[in-house]
Structures are given as C-alpha cells and as structure tokens.
C-alpha cells in the first residue's frame, strides 16, 4: 500500500485467478457474522494441510492476533472476500475471533438524540 508497493492497477503478473474463486462464489455469508474490520483473529490450532492456501496463510499469519483489516492488507484481499474465508475458518474452529476492546462506552446515539430533543422542547 505504500508508494513503490504493489498497486492494484498493475495486477501482479502471477495471478490468473479471480477473487470470486477464493470464496467459492459465496460473497456474503448467510449468517451475518460479527466480523468487522477491527475484530481480532487468532489461530487456535496448527494449520491443517488440507486447507485452501488462503486459509493456510491466515492460520499461519494469525499466530499472533491480527485484526481483519490487517489480514486483508497483508493478503491483499478485499475485506468482503476475506470475511467468508474467515467465517469458514471460524466454523471449522481453526481460528478464534474476538471483538476489539471497546475504547469507551458511549451512550446510544438515539438516546442522546432523544435527550437533546427533550431538552429543546423544554
């Protein structure tokens, strides 16, 4: 992503396959998962040799917890492609996901709006 690094327009020469193949045509997981950009992923077990290469890469990479966004950047895969892959890994129990630590417990926006409206009505 840096200047001299790979840029998406110059497709790397070693890449005849397309993104939809990676997820087997499944672009959106049926069950809405909890994964978002900052969910942390960490490997639970040794990588299984039967896994797809992307899965193996994730399993190896997440030896140490990595966020979804980081994995996406390292693998150069869009998050939407990565999500089904991770979902599959999660369902197989190869990796574990953990939501990020909430930085601050902000009150609900709707609640704030309701309070604001109420105050204005006074």
């Amino acid at each position: 992503m840096s200047g001299p690094g790979p840029d998406p327009t110059a497709q790397p020469p070693g890449n005849p396959d397309r993104l939809y193949i990676l997820t087997g045509g499944q672009t959106r997981p049926e069950a809405k998962t909890e994964l978002d950009l900052v969910t942390l992923i960490v490997t639970r077990s040794e990588s299984d040799p039967g896994l797809q290469p992307e899965h193996t890469a994730v399993v190896r990479m997440c030896d140490f917890p990595l966020s979804v966004a980081e994995i996406s950047a390292y693998l150069e895969l869009p998050v939407s492609t990565l999500t089904p892959l991770l979902t599959e890994l999660l369902s197989k129990g190869e990796v574990e996901a953990r939501p990020p630590v909430p930085t601050a417990a902000l009150p609900d926006v709707q609640l704030l709006e309701a309070v604001m409206n109420g105050l204005q009505k006074l």
């Binding site: 992503m1 840096s2 200047g3 001299p4 690094g5 790979p6 840029d7 998406p8 327009t9 497709q11 790397p12 020469p13 070693g14 890449n15 005849p16 396959d17 397309r18 993104l19 939809y20 193949i21 990676l22 087997g24 045509g25 672009t27 959106r28 950009l37 942390l40 960490v42 490997t43 639970r44 077990s45 990588s47 896994l51 290469p53 992307e54 193996t56 890469a57 190896r60 990479m61 997440c62 030896d63 140490f64 917890p65 966020s67 966004a69 980081e70 996406s72 950047a73 390292y74 693998l75 150069e76 895969l77 869009p78 998050v79 939407s80 492609t81 574990e96 990020p100 630590v101 930085t103």
Partner: protein, 495 residues
C-alpha cells in the same frame, strides 16, 4: 470390313476379276456365232461384240469404283485408329489430371507455392497436341486462380476473426483490471463487492469466448504471462472462466509451476474441458479436478459424474481431438461446439495429450497431460502457503508473526518516539498493549508465552493505521515514508 493389311495382296486378283464377265460373254458370243446359221452369224457376232464391250465397260467401271472404295476404307480406318489413340490418350490424361495432378496442385497451393510452380507440376505426361495441352494448362491455371482467390478470402476472413477476437480480448483484459481495481476499492461494501464479483465472472466468460475465437483463428489465447505461475493458480484460473465454477472441487495439486508462455493455453484448454464437464453432467453433481505428477509431465484430471460418452460420441470426440489442425472456422455449423476443437488446436500447438475416457462414476474422465518442458519447479516449493495466489505478499507479510523473534523489540515498550525499525530498515507496526491479551488464542499459547508480549510497542492511536489502511484501500496513494508497515523488502530476506 476389310483391313488395310489384307487388301494389299489381293489387289492384283481383284484387278483382273472384272475380266471374268466380259470373257464369259465373249465365249458365249463365239459359241453362239458358231452355233447359228451362217446367215445369222454376222448380226449375232455384232450383238455379241456390242454386249461384250458394254459388259466389259461396266465391269471395269465397277472394278475401279471398288478400288476407290477400298482406298477410302483404308484411309478411314487409319484415321479412326488415330482418333482412337488420341481419345485413349485424352482419357488417360484426364484421369491423371483428376487423380494425381489436381490433388498435388492443391497440396502445393496449400503450402503456398507460387502459381508458376504449380502449373509446372501439371505438365501432361504424354505427348499431346499443342491445343489440348494449352487447354489443359489454362484449366489448371484458372482452377489455381479460383482456389487462390478462395484461400485469400478465407485468410482475410480468418484474420478479421482473429483481429476482432484480439480487440475483444484487449477490452476484456482492460475491464478485468478495472473490475479488479474496483473490487479493491469497494472491498468494504459487501453489496457493491458482490455485484462486482458477478461482473468479473461475466467478464471472464466473455474473455474465454474471445480466446476461443482467437485460438480457432490460429492465434494465441489471451495474454502472455511473463513469469511462471504455480499450477494451483493455473487450475483456479481455469475454474474462474467457466459458468458453474462452484461445482468444481479442486483436489490435490502437484507442487509445480507452469512456464509463462504456456500458462494461458493450459488455462484455456482446462477451462474448455471443465466447461464440458459441468455442462454435460447433472447440475447437482460435482466435478473433480486434480493434478498429479507422472512420468511424462503433469496429468490434470477432470472427472464428472454425468451421462458419459456413448461410443459414437467418443469416436466423434476422438476424431475432433486427433484432427490435424482442428476445426475450420468455416464449417462450424449453426450451433458451433467450439470446446473440443479449441482444446485440440491447443493440444497440437503445445503438445498436450488429451484423452476423454469413461469415468468410474459413469461420467467422463478427461486427462490433459502437460509435457515436462512446459513445467518448471515452483518458485515457492514446499509449504501450503507457498501455493497461495498472493504468495509473495503473504509471505513477507507474515512478519507480524515473526516479530517475536526479535527480543530487542520488547524493552522499548513505553518509549514515546520512533517506531522500531525492522531488519529491513523499515518501520514496524506498533501494537497497542491492550489488545494483546495472553489468555486469548490457541490452547498451545502457553508454550509460546514468551512470544506474544515481545512485539508490544509504544501505544499509538488505534485508529491511525486503520485510517491509513482504508485510505489505501480506497485507492489514495499515501506518502510512502510514513510510519506504517510497508510490505516490500523484508520478504526477500525471509526467502
């Protein structure tokens, strides 16, 4: 009919034969003169003489005419013999023309011989009269010209086909790049992303059709790859070009790579075979794709659970596959079945071996053998990760996992300033202390306990790197020298 040979010796006999009747008449006259009374002798003698002279005249005239007729007959027979001889010659020449000369001439023309040379081949074998030989030659010449005109027309049509296919390929490639670009740009928006993948797939199908036309027109399929590509990616590339790629199961794959110039032909041939396999098998069945090492190269097997091949269909496919030069663009018919013709053309050009045989599942088992000269060692032999399409990036980016190797990174946990430089001299990413909790992770984490705390570095604002990442994802080119992970060199050291 009197032959010319037999009439000659009889000539003297026939020349005197006319004398017989006047002689007989003369003898009769003499006898009559001697028999009659002396008074009647004079008139009888006169009458007899007159009759004898008249008969002699008539007989001599008849004999003369007879001779004339015989001469005419002779001449006629000679002429007839000559004509017969010529007729036989012409017959023979025409046969030779049809059976030997024209096929030879056509063969020469197909190999691009000039007209003069072709005409020289067709010089008649026998001595013929000049008119006939000239006519012959002019026939040959006009046939040659007609054929050449036809060939030129076909060539032009082929070139037009190939040219159009080339332009389509160019557009499709451009579009593929654009779509790829957009996929990266809209990777965060699942709806847009899904639609983009859909478009990408359709684009790949269009590209395959354009490639097929180009191949049938005698050109290369698709783009040229500069470097070798791992077989795994080649197989997935083939899968990505068919409609029902979801039904294809990709099994074990030999750990080799395909050399650059052969990548596109292999992908294309496999895509056509996969397309056949998915098209002619029930939609709920799976198609198995494997690649194994064999003595004579790499065998890629495609096995479906379809209806299989009848004997007749198998003969037909064998014929198409073995046909020299494959299918002609001109006799495709109304619903062209390009697939096998394309495969056969590619197989001829690149020495693939292709065979379709009944499968154990009852379907078809297609085997494509890639010869060893098109195979090279995989650049990243061994590990599974080496086969990933994003290999180089994935590998170098494994650095986060390997950070624990550097114990020196640990103590600077709280230092407020410069981010530690990696072994490549590039700044390493910093990690907040918070989200690296020990109890999180695999069960074996206990064994690795020394590892996780090591990479911990000064706390930074958690959102910064993410913002940079998203801006990068959105295609904005960031300034290169920021304290963010750069992904370039370290991999070289790891390999």
């Amino acid at each position: 009919m009197v032959g010319t040979g037999s009439s000659a010796p009889r000539r003297p006999v026939s020349a005197l034969i006319w004398l017989i009747s006047p002689l007989v008449l003369a003898v009769c006259t003499v006898t009559a003169v001697l028999e009659v009374t002396p008074a009647a002798r004079a008139p009888v003698a006169w009458c007899g003489a007159a009759a004898t002279v008249a008969v002699a005249l008539a007989a001599s005239e008849a004999a003369r005419r007879g001779r004339v007729i015989a001469g005419l007959r002779r001449r006629h027979a000679e002429r007839e013999a000559l004509l017969q001889y010529r007729l036989d010659q012409h017959d023979a020449e025409t046969w030779r023309f049809a059976r030997e000369v024209m096929p030879e001439a056509l063969k020469l023309m197909r190999h691009g011989a000039p007209t003069d040379q072709v005409v020289r081949v067709t010089i008649p074998a026998h001595e013929l009269e000049p008119g006939f030989a000239a006519a012959h030659r002019s026939i040959v010449r006009s046939v040659i010209e007609a054929v050449q005109a036809e060939e030129a027309l076909r060539d032009a049509a082929h070139r037009a086909f190939v040219n159009i296919a080339r332009r389509m390929q160019a557009i499709v490639h451009q579009q593929a790049y654009d779509i790829r670009d957009m996929e990266h740009k809209h990777g965060n928006n699942p709806d847009v992303f899904g639609d983009l993948l859909h478009l990408d797939h359709g684009n790949a199908l269009t590209g395959r059709l354009a490639d097929s036309i180009a191949v049938l027109g005698g050109s290369r399929p698709g783009r040229q790859w500069r470097s070798e590509i791992p077989l795994y990616n080649v197989l997935r590339g083939a899968m990505s070009r068919i409609l029902e790629y979801r039904r294809v199961d990709l099994h074990s794959v030999a750990d080799v790579a395909v050399v650059g110039p052969a990548v596109e032909p292999v992908i294309h041939a496999l895509a056509e075979l996969l397309d056949n396999a998915t098209r002619y098998s029930p939609p709920q069945t799976r198609v198995h794709l494997t690649a194994v090492d064999i003595q004579s190269g790499i065998a890629v097997e495609i096995e479906d659970a379809g209806v299989g091949l009848t004997d007749e269909a198998r003969r037909r496919t064998d014929r198409v596959l073995s046909k020299e030069g494959g299918l002609d663009l001109d006799d495709l018919g109304e619903s062209p079945r390009l697939g096998l013709a394309v495969v056969s053309r590619l197989a001829n050009t690149y020495d693939f071996l292709v065979s379709l045989r009944p499968s154990a599942y009852g379907g078809v088992r297609a085997v494509l053998v890639i010869p060893p000269n098109l195979i090279t060692a995989s650049k990243f032999p061994g590990g599974d990760i080496a086969r990933a399409p994003k290999l180089p990036p994935a590998k170098k980016r494994r650095r986060p996992g390997s950070i624990p190797v550097q114990p020196s990174a640990a103590p600077i946990m709280d230092s407020p300033i410069p981010p530690p430089l990696g072994d490549s001299g590039l700044p390493q990413r910093r990690r907040r202390r918070g989200p690296a909790p020990l109890p999180f992770g695999r069960a074996a984490a206990a064994q690795r306990t020394p590892a996780p705390p090591a990479p911990e570095e000064p706390p930074v604002q958690p959102g910064l790197w993410l913002a940079a990442f998203t801006s990068g994802i959105n295609g904005e080119m960031p300034v290169p020298d920021q304290g963010r992970p750069t992904s370039d060199n370290p991999s070289d050291k790891e390999e």
